[in-house]
């Protein structure tokens, strides 16, 4: 059964993924586009970060051609929410990573559209004093 994965800015339907209890087995080729992770000899890597697969637990993480993304998320302290009925998964950001980011006081970057669909990123406004303000129709 295809699984829908929501992670960061991305929502991806994984046609070749399977769900088994707490495990989300993702075809290795789908990992990078869906989650940003790639498998390398040193472990699971994303950008500068590489996470070695815990020794002795390889079978929880890796099967031929498949990787258990939910196990990695759990290992990294990321919240995993799984709706088995609708085959949907949310993998969030860990509190630790969010806290470290905020502690640096570096304003988290983001990219969002305006009404015309033009994308704006915070970093486009570097060099200006930015007053970022939320509002809502509700």
């Amino acid at each position: 059964m295809p699984q829908t994965l929501i992670s960061g800015d991305r929502t991806t339907v994984l046609a070749g993924a399977t769900s088994e209890g707490d495990a989300l087995w993702v075809p290795v080729g789908d990992l990078e586009p869906a989650s940003g992770w790639t498998l390398k000899p040193e472990g699971a890597c994303r950008g500068e970060e590489c996470v070695p697969i815990p020794r002795g637990q390889e079978s929880l993480f890796v099967r031929p051609g498949l990787f258990n993304l939910a196990a990695l998320a759990g290992y990294l302290g990321q919240p995993v929410v799984h709706d088995a009925r609708r085959n949907a998964w949310v993998i969030g950001e860990s509190a630790g990573r969010r806290a470290a980011g905020l502690d640096s006081l570096e304003a988290p970057d983001f990219t969002l559209p305006d009404l015309q669909g033009n994308l704006h990123s915070l970093h486009d406004y570097r060099g200006k004093k930015v007053f970022l303000v939320s509002w809502a129709s509700w």
């Binding site: 829908t4 929501i6 960061g8 800015d9 929502t11 302290g77 990321q78 919240p79 995993v80 929410v81 709706d83 009925r85 609708r86 949907a88 949310v90 993998i91 969030g92 950001e93 860990s94 509190a95 969010r98 806290a99 980011g101 905020l102 502690d103 006081l105 570096e106 304003a107 988290p108 983001f110 969002l112 559209p113 305006d114 009404l115 669909g117 704006h120 915070l122 970093h123 406004y125 570097r126 060099g127 200006k128 004093k129 930015v130 007053f131 970022l132 303000v133 939320s134 509002w135 809502a136 129709s137 509700w138």
Partner: protein, 223 residues
Amino acid sequence: MWQALYQELEGKGFVVIAVALESRGAEAARPWIEAAKATYPCLVDATHIVAERYGMVNVPIGVWIDEAGTIVRPPEPAGTTDSFRAMDRQTFALSAEARADLRNARASYVAALRDWAERGAASKFALSPEEVRRRMAPPDEAKARATACFRMGEYLHAVGFEGDARAYFDEATRLHPQNWAFRRQAWNLEDPMKAGGKEFWAAVDALGDGHYYDPVEMPAVQP
């Protein structure tokens, strides 16, 4: 809402970026944005991702970011207070006293923004790194999980499983009750009138002496 201030200060290297937290997407935000005739960027955040990254739990919440991309004031209510709680719930009328309080809060906040736009780091309203950290509500596991539950609720609602979505919205509120953006957005998705209806007022009343908008710690501006 911020257009006059932006026009006054844009020549001073100051920009407003307004972010609509709007799970219904751009079309739901459009009438308000068009009515505001804003010339600063008005962005639509259909998954509340900016709120998550900054720890914004309500609207309007402001964050000040300097020229180097450093936070100099963490998320705080942008010129508003709890005075709205005294509103007459049939007529939406506010007492003169409540109106004056809201006017003052707004005027103080705008004056502080103006001071910062003009003086930059020398403004007393631009906080030290220690002070920014002290005022920032730290993320924790419950909040991180609440956000993931909210995202699941948004997704299920968007693909037509409104009933399934509700359990995740409820769980998000249980895990992070201070997050009014989650609560009100979930009510709004159910029924646009509900976010300001009796459920909303009951939840506000349940705060008792607790705050809906935390008071802003801000020194007075010298006239």
